[in-house]
Amino acid sequence: MRSQQTAQDSNSSLRPFQRFLLNFGAGLGSLCLLLAVLAMVIGIKPLVFVSGSMGPGIPVGALGLSVPASVEEVNVGDVVSVVNSQGERITHRVVEKAPEGLVLKGDANPVPDIETYSVEQVDHLFLSVPGLGYVVTWLSQPWAYAIGLLLCGYLLYIAFWRKDSKPDNSDEELHGSQSAEPGEQDSHSRTAGRKKLGNLSRTIGGLTVVVLLGALVLQVPKSETTHAAFTGSATASAAVQANIVQPATGSLACTESRVLLLTTATVSWPAQQLPSGARLAVRTKVDSSTYRYTSLASGATSTDYGPRLNLIGLITEGGAQTMEVKLLVVYTTDNKDVTESGSNIGWVSPVADSPGRTIVYHPGFVLARDFTCS
């Protein structure tokens, strides 16, 4: 404040650094006012990038400017800013406009964001300046406000009060401008009453402005910067393989046994090793396109084709006919016995590779039909 006192010797001229401060303050202040007006009128939003997922184009600490835009106005490749479901602001590039929302991806991220942003309004980034975000963030801190306040206070002082003070009572003047005590006026050397009144109104007006601005500064939230999510990713994969049902092993043998005039054909096979959950079933081809299945108990090694066998589809008259019999390994979809029609068969061993043989069916009346080995 020493320099002020000497500067006060001349009312009409200012020291170079005071001129500089005035010009600097006026320039910066005008820019801020302009930006504030733009922000209010067209909704320009400053965005400070606090993480590097949009790097290297938009590095950490960049300041971006955005304008509100509807989703329809946004194209793939644009950089937009949205708020995710966690309430965090994310500024990433549009990679897809899906029906369910925008798919965004950080330039430095290997994969798109997990969340698809279902939004109607976004902030479209139109400018970014590397490094400026640091400055803005720095300026948003309370002590930066304090410096701004001091600067403004000083400039107001040299503009409004300095000229009216006398060289010898600058200390009182300074005191008065800071504390705004009513008695301040008494410590001044007497001047014209008109000037006194002017001084008083300037002091009150200036203090009002400062107090209002101070209140504004205290009111606004602490510096808030957001977004540009960084993403890490990794993939774990597994090759899952389905098994193949191997055909039953061995071959089918057939033996005949006779009770009275009727013959029973018994088809048999070696004991089978079945995979877990599998069953044995015999498939009998009763005509050119009809198959009948016989469910077998686990561990069974034979099945009988005798006079009492009453498979659906078996004709009851006509000449003898050969039938193909196949031993199959099957899985049933309901984990129950194989139905006669085979409707509940899921997986089945390959028929062509399964052991089979033919038997001969001799139709007749209910008890008069029988089977023989071929």
Binding site: G29, L47, Y145, K222, G232, T235, A238, V240, G277
Partner: protein, 191 residues
């Protein structure tokens, strides 16, 4: 410099304060205060692997515990996901099926992803027992949306158990089919 222009300039300089206020006010979109120190070059990275010690790579082929699948059978894999970055980062995962050979084995599988589960059983009946189910994919459908996010501190890891079950109703055409089941892990930090 005239007194008037000095005064005009001094008043204009008050715009600095308005500017400060505007920037912070307009920047207050989330309602969550974020300090300056949050501007950082922190890294966010995930590793996957068999164990906490080896979970450092970005990709991992999970071995299958259990035999190849028959209808009604199940097998399982274990993967450890680890935060290898420098800051705490929640992660989520998304399942992905890559079918091969024209068969749709992956679609037919019922898949569970659990945390805190242990492998149990052997042969055609290996399951993830106990724990909490984080994701379920039913037979006949594809994976749904990504899992809920799970917190993961730097250096911390979480073991996940993935269970593959082939239902009894599996189509016969799926015999011998193969499919690749992948879990894509993503961690994301918003600030």
């Amino acid at each position: 410099m005239s007194g008037k222009s000095i005064r005009v300039k001094a008043i204009l300089s008050l715009g600095i304060l308005v500017g400060f206020g505007a920037v912070s006010t307009l920047a207050s979109w989330t309602g969550q205060a974020t300090a300056t120190s949050n501007i950082s070059t922190a890294t966010v990275a995930l590793g996957v692997g068999a164990t906490t010690g080896s979970a450092t790579s970005a990709s991992y082929q999970m071995p299958i515990n259990g035999s190849n699948l028959f209808p009604g059978a199940s097998s399982a894999s274990v993967v450890v996901v680890k935060n290898t970055g420098s800051i705490s980062a929640p992660y989520s995962f998304q399942g992905k099926i890559t079918e091969s050979g024209g068969a749709t084995l992956g679609s037919a599988l019922t898949i569970l992803v659990k945390t805190g589960a242990t492998l149990s059983g052997s042969g055609s009946n290996v399951t993830c027992s106990g724990g909490t189910t984080l994701m379920t994919k039913n037979t006949g459908s594809s994976f749904g949306s990504a899992s809920a996010t799970r917190p993961l501190a730097p250096g911390a890891s979480e073991s996940l158990c993935v269970q593959y079950s082939l239902p009894l109703t599996a189509n016969n055409a799926l015999q011998g089919a193969t499919t690749t089941i992948a879990l894509d892990f993503t961690s994301s930090v918003g600030s």
